[in-house]
């Protein structure tokens, strides 16, 4: 496995499982998924609700720990990280965008975008300029002091993109980023994500249930059902997909 370079593996999962106990029943949200995602790939995770795509995303995001198996991001096994190291990983390596935007309502857009820099202990004097730049990049330079509730859904999602990118992550994880948006606004957001993928060479892993959007923007589509990977196909690719480690025989 290459660790660096354009064709290096950014994300690798090895037979990863995430099982929950719900009362009597054992829920296998993620059930033995092995995939390799190369640096710079734009990957869409598709599947019906409850198929385990969000759970898989949370494992890659370091928000959750697998029941078994490994999640390796840029050569680091997340399972081996302490809670503190995992927080650092989320801070510097991962940027996240959510369906419900998850901006903090009591803060202005500028303050929302500055928030991750507080955790990263970026010098106070540099923050405002960096946050402005980031908001400008998503076309929100006129909305700096607005609170999230004063903005449209599309604008909120742009702000959350600006926030996700502020600490220059290698990996952008998006959980249904267009789920709360109309199709036109959704397309705008996808264009933005696509442009970051292209211009910054950022690896994108996006959960969606909109097949058409995935087909239009993603270079590779992974279909999940019942916590298992059921289909992995390339799509009008600029980058060749990495073959999943089929020899291990976890995928069906």
């Amino acid at each position: 496995m290459e660790i660096s370079g354009p064709n290096s593996v950014a994300v690798r999962t090895e037979n990863v499982c995430r099982h929950y106990q719900m009362g009597e029943a054992l829920v296998r949200a993620v059930d033995g998924i092995s995939i390799d995602i190369r640096a710079g790939e734009f990957v869409a995770l598709l599947g019906a609700s409850g198929s385990g795509k969000s759970s898989l995303l949370n494992l890659v995001a370091g928000l959750d720990r697998p029941t078994s198996g490994a999640v390796i991001v840029h050569g680091t096994d997340l399972a081996a990280l302490s809670r503190d190291q995992l927080a650092k990983y989320r801070l510097h390596t991962v940027g996240m965008v959510f369906q419900s935007f998850n901006l903090i309502p009591s803060m202005s857009l500028l303050e929302n975008v500055e928030l991750p820099m507080r955790f990263a202990e970026v010098d106070r004097r540099d923050r405002s300029a960096l946050a402005r730049q980031s908001l400008e990049r998503v076309g929100l330079s006129g909305r700096l002091s607005h609170r999230p509730m004063e903005l449209s859904g599309g604008e909120q999602q742009r702000a959350s993109l600006a926030r996700a990118l502020i600490n220059r992550p290698k990996l952008l994880l998006a959980d249904e980023p267009t789920g709360n948006l109309d199709s036109r606004t959704g397309t705008e957001i996808m264009e933005l994500i696509h442009s970051f993928n292209q211009s910054l060479g950022m690896t994108v892993l996006m959960v969606t249930h909109e097949q058409t959007l995935a087909e239009k923007y993603a270079g590779r589509m992974l279909h999940l059902a019942d916590g298992k990977l059921v289909d992995d196909k390339a799509n009008k690719i600029e980058l060749e997909p990495v073959r999943p480690p089929a020899s291990r025989g976890e995928t069906q």
Binding site: A87, R90, N102, S106, R118, F119
Partner: protein, 453 residues
Amino acid sequence: MKLYDVTDLAIRNLRESIFRNSLTTIGISVGVASLVAMLSLGIGLQQLASRRLEKSGLFDTVVATSRRDLRNFREQREEGPPPAESRSLDEAARQQIAHIPGVVEAYPDIRFVTDLRFDGKPHLTMVAGIPFSAKNNNDAFDGMQGSFFSSDASPEVIVQRSFAEELLAITPKPGSDNTSIAELAKPLLGKELTMRYAERTSSPSLGQNDSAAYSVVSRQQVLKIVGLTDLDPDSMRGMARARVFLPLKLAQNLHVMPSNLRDASASDSPSYTSLSVRVTNPNQVPAVEDAIKKLGFNAFSIVDATRSMRQFFAVLDGFLAIFGSLALAVASIGIVNTLVMAILERRREIGIMKALGASDADVRGLFFAEAGAMGLVGGAVGVTLGWAIGRLINFGTNIYLERQHFPSAQIWSVPLWLVLGAIAFSIVVSLISGLYPASRAARLDPVQALRYE
């Protein structure tokens, strides 16, 4: 996260639910206020008591006597030469004692029983010499009627209440209010007393060398009543308490024949029955006492009494602090409640912060800072409130004291250490209260928190 950011975010969060956080902070303020009010009264009373006691001359005075004086046989266990060979308490000894470090002054104790005539009627009482310095150092002269002696040797007297009553033939009826000191003073101030006493003079006819030879001459001295004191300036003396006070120099110059003949047949140079040794500070009493004993004299003081007084106030302050702290304990439950509510309310926000990369320590620090800020503001407001309550109680007490014809007193005191200590205590209690909510917030699972709507 840097301290600035933690503080900034904490203040922002506190402002977000300003009403609830204000109520919690008021709770802390009331707790701190009760603590400060209780302790300020305890400290004030203690200061009042020690001020009074220090000024009474009870605790800053050591009495030195000669070992030759057989009346002090109970002290004979002391090391040093046997009584008959030990030093006499003369002027040289007085000066030596006056130079011991910590000693303010050492003056002879002159007291004698004599006959004072007022309006032609004789009154027999104990008369004592008082040093001029007592004007400022003895509490009994603070609220007196008339004035202190005009000089150290002027023919003036200050009369104690019970003697004034005797002079005016007033018998205080038990149970009824005493005649006020001002009423007693009116007919007496400026009047004259004639003191008849026996002067001891050396007798030349019997030879200069024989110091034991002297003659006694009957004299009289006219004295003007300049002052009347309600309190007893001589309370340390117990049964030998004087009721009429002369300037010390005057008393010395009179060469009154001591009432006890043993003292009279003393030695070549005039020696004193006892010396009163005043020290700068009650803490120095034991050291001065030891130094006097090393010089070969007997010394005693009542310093142990201050120790038990301090002990009493330590216990009193302890009780007051416990009652004051109870209110603060109740307030701290308020902090726990507010912060736990804040966790429920901000669950999603905590999840977002964690997803963005906030560490457990960042989240914990944030909740800690919020608790600490409420403690700081609550403490500061509480100290102000407690100070005001203390003042109010002081004010009320003084109105009451005035109605009862007592001199006003400062029964309340808020020293700087109490102000800082109370605020620090409030912050510490708040931080301890924030411990559980903060660690609960830090442990929050981000996936669950983000799912929470």
